[in-house]
């Protein structure tokens, strides 16, 4: 019988990076990375940001060989057998583990009645959509979040007509303040995107959407970009605690001390609240931390969340988690780029969102991330004044 080692389920950004991180941290036992996608691990962020369908791989096969990682793509895990410490694959193979990491990610949400719409998550989804984004076709996007708007931008650049249907009265309402949403929306309108706001969707087929008020929007392709749900089925079937994601502690341990969960699928503690993040950066940060945790590290995860989106020439960056109750402070950093900070009642920055051409806000958002991490109270006037370097606030 083979000596069990560490098994990772999920070949996305998190699972793959965790596998390599284990080697980086000197782990010499067996590492097995299993996933149901048939490809080499690929980056998802570019899929919605252009109509270029050739994937960018997270790791090539050669890298798996070099790191002695047993990479098993194209196979689903049927179940976790906690009493024997093994995962059972759909083809019947049993793979024993000492430690198991669930990095199972998330899947696109579709409301009842929307089943005909095209989801957008995988390389295959992207290829279906990209192949239809040519001049003269009309793309209807349900959902004005990051994915929906990135896709809208990519489609306009490719020459397709685009209509975005958003249930709330603001784009990206979940993650950015109104001031920033307004700039993004204006850019989309300028580029010829049509919007329906405050419009719930009753049903969607592959080329038609019926809104709550009875209006019918027809096109050539309907894509759903209304968010994702965590892949928790395996965890749930194994009687691990789940609640909007697989419940983990600050070391990404589930309710079974030998099973961990990280990335989009996990629900973890962040500064007094429990959160689940769908983010490329979080997938990386979780991967590193959980790899170390599986090897015995005990310190709690405390990394400030960070998100970004590219739409046309605009880049949005967000650090921290907006709370909607805080005080907002705007800082103009030139060339129409600006940052909106959110401070709590003690003056500590809890979130910062910026928008600008290219990477105009990157530096200040990076510093904001550090400010948020420190949790130190700062003067709103100093945040608002672009002549005051945020570095100074950080060190002052």
């Amino acid at each position: 019988m083979k000596v069990p080692g560490i098994v990772i389920v999920g070949t996305g950004e998190c699972g793959t990076h965790a596998a390599f991180a284990l080697r980086e941290y000197g782990y010499e036992g067996a590492v097995t990375l299993i996933g149901d996608e048939p490809h080499l691990p690929y980056e998802r962020p570019p899929l919605s940001k252009s109509t270029e369908s050739s994937p960018k791989f997270v790791a090539e096969l050669q890298a798996f060989h070099a790191a002695n990682i047993n990479f098993i793509p194209g196979v689903s895990v049927h179940k976790i057998e906690r009493h024997t410490q093994a995962v059972i694959l759909e083809d019947g193979r049993a793979i024993p583990y000492n430690k198991l990491l669930l990095a199972t990610g998330a899947f696109p949400k579709l409301f009842p009645g929307m089943e005909g719409a095209q989801p957008f998550r995988t390389l295959e989804d992207a290829q279906v959509v990209h192949s239809q984004l040519v001049p003269g076709t009309h793309l209807i996007v349900v959902g004005g979040g990051f994915i929906g708007l990135e896709l809208a931008a990519a489609a306009r650049i490719a020459g397709a007509e685009v209509t975005v249907i958003e249930a709330t009265d603001q784009v990206m309402s979940r993650v950015v303040p109104e001031q920033i949403a307004t700039v993004a929306e204006a850019e989309h309108r300028e580029r010829g995107v049509s919007f329906f706001f405050g419009s719930g969707v009753v049903s969607a087929t592959e080329n038609e959407v019926v809104l709550f008020d009875g209006q019918i929007v027809s096109g050539d392709l309907v894509v759903a970009g209304i968010g994702v749900l965590p892949n928790i089925a395996l965890a749930k079937a194994a009687d691990l605690a789940v609640n909007n994601g697989i419940t983990v502690d600050s070391c990404f341990t589930t309710t079974d001390a030998n099973i961990f969960a990280a990335g989009d699928c996990c629900n973890f503690p962040y500064r007094g609240q429990r959160v689940r993040l769908e983010s490329w950066r979080a997938a990386h940060d979780h991967a590193k931390h959980v790899a170390a945790a599986m090897l015995g590290r005990k310190d709690p995860y405390d990394v400030v969340p960070w998100f970004w989106s590219d739409q046309y020439d605009l880049t949005l960056q967000v650090a921290g988690l907006p709370r909607t109750a805080g005080q907002l402070v705007r800082r103009d950093v030139g060339d129409n780029a600006f940052i909106v900070f959110e401070q709590d009642d003690k003056g500590a920055v809890v979130a910062a969102a910026g928008i600008g051409t290219g990477n105009a806000v990157a530096k200040d958002i990076r510093l904001s991330e550090m400010l948020i991490g420190m949790g130190k109270a700062v003067e709103a006037a100093a945040l608002a004044d672009p002549a005051i370097n945020l570095k100074k606030l950080l060190r002052g």
């Binding site: 990386h284 290219g358 990477n359 105009a360 990157a362 530096k363 990076r366 570095k391």
Partner: protein, 104 residues
């Protein structure tokens, strides 16, 4: 053939910061360290060809604005994922108020 070229004035670069400098179809980054020395590297990150000039300098580290790849700008050394390829560095020289870099 190596050549010293005029890149900028001393005052163009804040302490612990950098600017972009384009010359002959190439882009460079000129840094001023906290101890007031000048350094020069390639202007684009080795990961995804992003201009480092929008990145953050902390002490002797430049961090790429896109994916936070980090380099020691004195040596060009990549400091871990996602960057693994070092940056090229170039000698600098300050004369009066002008910063020169030696391009290859």
């Amino acid at each position: 053939m190596s050549e010293w070229i005029e890149a900028c004035s001393v005052g163009d670069v804040d302490e612990e910061d950098l600017i972009r400098f384009d010359h002959d179809g190439k882009t460079y980054a000129i840094y001023r360290s906290p101890d007031n020395e000048f350094y020069a590297t390639d202007g684009l990150c080795t990961h995804e060809q992003v201009h480092l000039s929008d990145g953050l300098v902390m002490d002797y580290i430049i961090e790429c604005p896109k994916h936070n790849g980090r380099f020691d700008y004195r040596t060009g050394e990549a400091k871990g994922a996602p960057v693994c390829v070092n940056l090229n560095t170039y000698p600098t020289r300050v004369e009066d108020d002008t910063v020169f870099i030696q391009v290859k």
